[in-house]
């Protein structure tokens, strides 16, 4: 997910939002994770927008990708320069209309934006977990979100919406809680990482773990593995773009110079851009969280986890109506992966719609303003909520 969040062009926003926290799973009720490890207490950071109706039937859960957080839309204060990461999609009259729906977004388990993760304090030692934090899965992230919904008294979700690793959480929700999830919107996502996707994550992790400051993950309070994390971000960032997007955005243009410098400074604009992205990222993100979240994404495998290696069997549990969108230039989670997913859904006779949007900007396309995507999501939600009301 890129750092280039722009305020809404038309100036429409959900307005001021507040980050809230909920803590649960304290001893002796620790959460048992997929690995068998126990974890607790767990704090989850979340934000809500819009109003929950009396029937509690208009709640939508938005799930975020690798570097996102609970701050999906709106501003924290009046002089906050930047809105949430999906402000173009979530707001009054937008794709996910906060005038109609009650939107919830929480930071994932293992993250570093308020929810319990490797940088949180380990109650056993009084120091940050570091690598003592258990390896978590997408399924574990869902369990924590379910804990939040229980706290909020929400027993039904009109939709769960997410892209990329957020999309994996949507799939997990639809399979794990078929009675809760009325509809699922899957954007630029996959049922399991390809070798290509795992490779880029592994390069990122190796960059972090080989940073001299990494100290086996125990770097809190000292110098941090910023170089490794920045490198991981640079690699990741390339995978979110596309050849075409980079050609038109940078080409071979030089940065602040007319001639090559014949040294290893950033000569090209693209080099300088990636360095900037890397250096910005380390200011807000924890290297250990990068390790944990990418690992969770690499481990995710719907067929293995839910269907004895068969996605068709795994999807048999789903009752939600589904909208799947992929993007032509996304080479990280290419369209064929969405198609395979849709195929397994069709074999189960699910109510599924699929559209491949023509876009040049690669995997990041789902985060960027896109009229077609917004309209489809808006109308799909309208249809689902009308059909729900008719069924009552």
């Amino acid at each position: 997910m890129s750092e280039n969040i722009e305020p809404d062009r038309d100036g429409i926003s959900v307005g001021q939002v507040e980050k809230k926290f909920h803590t649960f799973a304290g001893p002796p009720h620790e959460l048992v994770l997929e690995s068998g490890a126990q974890l607790g207490p767990i704090t989850v950071a979340y934000e809500t927008m819009g109003t929950l109706n009396e029937a509690k039937s208009n709640a939508i859960l938005v799930t975020h990708a690798l570097s996102g957080d609970s701050h999906v839309a709106g501003y924290y204060s009046e002089d906050d320069p930047k809105p949430g990461w999906w402000d173009t999609m979530v707001g009054p009259g937008k794709g996910i209309d906060t005038d109609k729906y009650f939107v919830i977004c929480s930071n994932v388990l293992g993250g570093c934006m308020g929810t319990t993760g490797p940088s949180s304090e380990n109650p056993a030692t009084g120091r940050p977990y570091g690598l003592d934090f258990p390896v978590v899965t997408i399924g574990d992230m869902i369990m924590v979100q379910k804990g939040l919904l229980d706290h909020l008294g929400i027993t039904k979700l009109l939709a769960v919406v997410g892209g990329s690793i957020g999309g994996m959480q949507v799939i997990e929700w639809a399979i794990s809680y078929p009675e809760i999830v009325t509809s699922a919107i899957l954007l630029a996502t996959t049922t399991r990482h390809s070798a290509l996707a795992i490779s880029f994550n592994e390069i990122g992790r190796q960059a972090i773990m080989s940073d001299p400051n990494f100290n086996k993950g125990d770097y809190y309070g000292g110098p941090r593995p910023d170089i490794g994390l920045a490198l991981a971000r640079m690699v990741g960032h390339v995978t979110y773009l596309s050849d075409e997007a980079m050609r038109s955005k940078f080409g071979r243009r030089l940065q602040d110079r007319d001639n090559l410098s014949f040294d290893f400074d950033a000569n090209f604009q693209v080099e300088s851009y990636l360095r900037y992205q890397g250096s910005k990222f380390v200011q807000r993100f924890d290297a250990n969280s990068f390790l944990y979240i990418t690992k969770a994404a690499d481990y995710f495998d719907v067929g293995r986890q839910h269907g004895h290696d068969s996605e068709v069997e795994a999807f048999a549990k789903i009752k939600s109506k589904i909208l799947t969108i992929s993007f032509t230039s996304d080479w990280l989670y290419p369209t064929y992966q969405s198609r395979n997913m849709v195929k397994a859904m069709k074999k189960n006779g699910l109510d599924v719609s699929f559209c491949e949007i023509e876009a040049t900007c690669g995997h990041d396309a789902f985060l960027l303003p896109n009229e077609r995507q917004s309209t489809m999501i808006n109308r799909f939600l309208k249809r689902v909520s009308e059909e729900e009301n008719n069924a009552l």
Binding site: V342, V352, C355
Partner: protein, 203 residues
């Protein structure tokens, strides 16, 4: 709604499951959903049309019809509709066989190439025919299959299937109005509409 679609809609039993191949912007499915409580899905290759379908509240998959139908289990639908598309399919015999697997009944409509004015164009002018239904040149037409009403009847017979209903109509490609042709349809109808089932099905 297009005249041939009106006729097709009148054939659909309320509450049935329908697959519409090449469904465009989902006009027929949207109508059937509202008026006949049908649970329907469409397949369409154009992204713009797929977007419109979703906007119209229609369940839709973007893709190639020949590939997409293969994923469905046997008898997944009560009706599979292929309207004004058969003449553009590379392997129509294989497609129809596949449609009869996923659907209990299939409804097929196509432009009749033995319509009298088409015959006269070839007879008198000697060029590949062009008209409002078939507005293309020989080199850029998507209509690669030349089918007549008689051809289709024979095809159904020879493949061991049966025609449950047949209505031949005179209408133009996007017209809302038309009329049913009972006398010499192979000569006088611009479109044939057939409902076909497997021979062993009781209906």
């Amino acid at each position: 709604m297009r005249y041939d679609l009106q006729i097709i809609a009148s054939w659909i039993e309320p509450g049935s499951r329908v697959l519409d191949l090449g469904c465009g912007e989902g006009e027929l499915l949207s109508f059937l959903k509202k008026e006949k409580q049908v649970s329907g899905t469409g397949i369409e290759s154009s992204e713009a049309k797929v977007t419109k379908c979703i906007e119209n509240g229609v369940q839709i998959l973007q893709g190639d019809i020949t590939e997409e139908v293969q994923d469905y289990p046997d008898n997944a639908f009560d009706y599979v509709i292929l309207s004004q598309t058969l003449q553009q399919v590379l392997e129509p015999d294989l497609l129809i066989k596949e449609l009869l697997r996923v659907g209990k009944k299939i409804i097929v409509s196509f432009p009749n190439f033995s319509y009298w004015s088409i015959r006269l164009q070839i007879l008198f002018f000697g060029y590949a025919p062009k008209n409002r239904q078939l507005p293309y040149e020989w080199y850029n037409t998507p209509n690669i299959r030349i089918i007549t009403i008689k051809d289709f009847r024979r095809f159904v017979r020879e493949t061991g299937c049966k025609v449950i209903r047949e209505v031949d109509i005179n209408t133009h490609s996007d017209n809302l109005q038309g009329n049913i042709i009972n006398f010499l349809p192979n000569l006088r109808a611009t479109y044939g509409i057939f409902m076909v089932s497997r021979r062993n099905d009781q209906s």
